[in-house]
């Protein structure tokens, strides 16, 4: 009897111990097509406004389509959203679909056959047409000719200028070319030696994604949107690249760059120029009410090399989108596409998105569609973002984008900012390092 009791206790302990390790995830096969209802898991970006949006849209959709149930949950961000997706795929608990996927990460997933090519699903062409995103989608074609991501928003990144300080220096609008900007730098240091043009610690940080918001913004403008990497080939514009690095080097020589960690350098006026995304506008509304558009600050496209056209300047697009995972069942994939089609066939859903998140929907007709007119009239600071959407270049679609962008930082951009390499040498070193990484 004693022995039996011991066995039972030990068994119970073991089972309860192992049960505690369960993640609580149910497999896809269990949650799909039960009683004719297809359940799909949707991971929304870990951002309350985006979660609320998807929750509401999913509920409305299910009212009209009771045979499809959408379970919206926030994407885990520990340690990063990419890592949680990777772990989920490896652990066979990936959702049916998710948002918040950038093009580079999508390329990694696509190369690992973890994503469904959206253009292989019925209804894809209708989505593109109904949402007026045919032009936008052209830049999203992957090197294998497929479309894996439906971009939800496209943040054409802009540079913010402290208009109040520019005015004190005698300028009524931001400079547009490199030499104009260097003039501003000279005048700034003469009048305010303790201020800088660009105060940003990230300029010397080789972390891959940081290049989107310095190097690529300037490079896309200087090269008129050159693709930089196509497939597994470096197709960068040498002249434009060296010009960008020389420009940064000249700013350094003018002591106009500040690369130390600083708290809110632009908001405090320590720096007068910085990259700004549309999300910042609503953040400022709450945290920095003194930051007023066309008064304290203004927005501009990136400066370009002298002699270049200053209209329709290209810039980097911080853009993320929806994907459908290959681990989902055929029924789930079909249901997910039906949901996508339902959401994007009605511009009101994009209007709702815009109102909730302030992130410009990735569509060609953003500035011309009457649906969005009211919103942009009420939010003038977001108008320049909408206007720049057609000139916004998405990130590279190479699966090694992390390595490649780290190389840009480590070999070229960071050392030039620190004055450790000449622009020519930095560009050559970067290209040489690419040869190893791209093979």
């Amino acid at each position: 009897m004693k022995k039996f009791a011991s066995v039972m206790i030990a068994g119970a302990l073991t089972v309860s111990g192992l049960a505690g390790c369960s993640t609580g995830n149910t497999s896809n096969s269990q949650s799909t097509s039960k009683n004719g209802v297809t359940t799909i898991e949707f991971w929304a970006a870990p951002n309350p406004t985006q979660q609320v949006y998807w929750q509401e849209v999913a509920e409305e959709f299910t009212k009209e389509n009771p045979k499809i149930k959408i379970k919206v949950s926030p994407m885990k961000e520990s340690p990063t959203s990419e890592a949680s997706i990777q772990s989920a795929i490896a652990g066979k608990s990936a959702p049916t679909m998710s948002e918040n996927i950038n093009r580079g990460f999508a390329a990694q997933l696509a190369e690992s056959k973890a994503l469904v090519p959206l253009d292989s699903l019925d209804g894809w062409d209708e989505v593109k047409k109904a949402r007026h995103m045919e032009n936008t989608m052209k830049g999203w074609e992957f090197s294998d000719g497929h479309q894996y991501v439906l971009p939800i928003y496209s943040n054409a990144m802009l540079f913010g200028w402290r208009l109040d300080i520019l005015k004190e220096l005698g300028y009524n609008e931001p400079p547009k070319t490199y030499s104009e900007m260097l003039d501003v730098a000279k005048k700034l240091k003469e009048k305010f030696p303790d201020k800088y043009v660009w105060a940003k610690a990230d300029l010397v940080d080789p972390t891959a994604w940081k290049r989107w918001f310095d190097f690529f913004m300037l490079y896309d403008a200087a090269s008129d949107g050159n693709k930089f990497i196509e497939g597994s080939k470096f197709t960068g514009d040498d002249k434009a690249g060296v010009k960008v690095l020389s420009f940064v080097d000249n700013l350094r020589k003018e002591k106009a760059l500040m690369t130390r960690q600083a708290k809110d350098p632009f908001e405090t006026g320590l720096g007068i120029f910085t990259d700004i995304g549309p999300w910042t506008i609503s953040y400022w509304k709450d945290k920095f009410p003194k930051m007023k558009f066309n008064d304290t600050y203004t927005l501009a496209t990136p400066p370009v090399p002298d002699g270049m056209d200053t209209k329709n300047v290209k810039t980097f697009a911080d853009t993320k989108g929806l994907v459908i995972y290959a681990s989902a069942t055929k029924d789930q994939q079909k249901a997910a596409m039906k949901f996508i089609k339902w959401v994007y066939s009605n511009p009101k859903n994009d209007e709702k998105w815009l109102e909730k998140t302030n992130l410009p929907p990735a569509r060609d007709d953003l500035t011309t569609n009457e649906t969005f007119k009211d919103f942009f009239d009420k939010n003038p600071a977001l108008q320049p973002y909408a206007a720049a959407v057609p000139n916004a270049i998405p990130p590279m679609d190479n699966a090694k984008y992390n390595d490649l962008q780290t190389i840009i930082g480590r070999e070229a951009f960071n050392p030039v900012v620190k004055g450790e390499k000449s622009p020519d040498k930095a560009w050559k070193d970067m290209k040489k390092a690419f040869e190893g990484a791209l093979n």
Binding site: T14, E82, Q86, A201, A399, N402
Partner: protein
């Protein structure tokens, strides 16, 4: 019940932990070892065996070289820092007439604090335009690039982690102090020993077992630093704070190179095991030579 029966019962009661150890230590270790010979990224349907290529690549990598040296540099900064501060805290608490437990809890709290939160607070305190830096710059002409210069960045990380662990180690050392009998000190007092002699000849040797534990724990910590460097420096500047964990994380979860990251993890675990083993042996030798153990 005979010996055989008792033995079986022992195994049975130990089985939950054994199963736990197999599931969470042995299987992942074998899995990681397997992965380290492949180019698999965990999600692709196919992978290739690469033999020792990942190991060769890792041994040549500047990130791995940095992780190796950063760990030891960090050890030389962190261990003396945390041992000194925890001895001081333990001495203060040991000398308190009342509420020792309450003060110990106070010092222990940083250990429970989130590394993310403390790192973000430190980031704010050390930013270029923070009040502390403004005062240093404007009043004393001192301008330190705390997180941007290699030594300062490592020093800051060591300081935060020392702050975090001081209370925990002080707890162990306080119990060490408490275990030293008063009569030993009374006898020493009669013999006329100076306070300095009292510390080196009585307190330190009797505290050695607790100190030994704390030293080994602190050395172990140096091989597992991640949150603070991830939040504060990202491993920079120029790999100056690139720890083993940082390197493994970057390769596995940023670059999706799980095979290569596994090879780095295996190398890291060998380095950790060998280092701790050698240090432990040296400490034991030191203790034995002085008759402390």
């Amino acid at each position: 019940m005979g010996h055989k029966g008792q033995g079986r019962l022992g195994w049975l009661f130990a089985s939950p932990y054994l199963i736990y150890a197999v599931v969470f230590f042995a299987i992942p270790l074998i899995w990681s070892l397997f992965l380290s010979f492949t180019d698999w990224n965990l999600i692709a349907p196919t992978f290739h065996f690469k033999g020792f290529d990942n190991y060769i690549e890792a041994l040549k990598s500047p990130g791995v070289h940095a992780a190796f040296f950063v760990t030891f540099k960090f050890m030389f900064l962190f261990v003396p820092m945390v041992i000194a501060s925890s001895i001081i805290v333990a001495l203060i608490i040991h000398g308190l007439p009342k509420f020792k437990g309450l003060f110990l809890i106070g010092f222990f709290l940083p250990y429970l604090a989130s590394g993310v939160v403390s790192s973000l607070i430190v980031k704010g305190i050390l930013s270029y335009n923070s009040p502390i830096n403004e005062v240093l710059r404007n009043s004393f002409g001192i301008d330190i690039n705390w997180l941007g210069s290699p030594f300062a960045a490592l020093f800051v990380v060591a300081l935060i982690i020392a702050w975090k662990f001081t209370g925990y180690y002080a707890l162990i050392l306080t119990s060490g102090f408490e275990s030293i009998g008063k009569e030993v000190y009374e006898a020493a007092l009669i013999d006329g020993v100076t306070p300095w002699q009292r510390f080196w000849k009585i307190t330190f040797p009797l505290l050695y077992p607790a100190l030994f534990t704390v030293l080994i724990l602190a050395i172990g910590v140096t091989f597992g630093i991640f949150t603070e460097v991830y939040q504060l420096t990202g491993g920079g500047p120029d790999y100056a704070t690139n720890t083993w964990q940082m390197e493994i994380f970057t390769k596995a979860f940023t670059n999706l190179e799980a095979g290569y990251a596994s090879a780095v993890a295996i190398i890291a675990s060998i380095v950790t095991f060998v280092s701790i083993f050698i240090i432990r042996k040296l400490l034991e030798l030191w203790g034995k030579r002085n008759g402390w153990v």
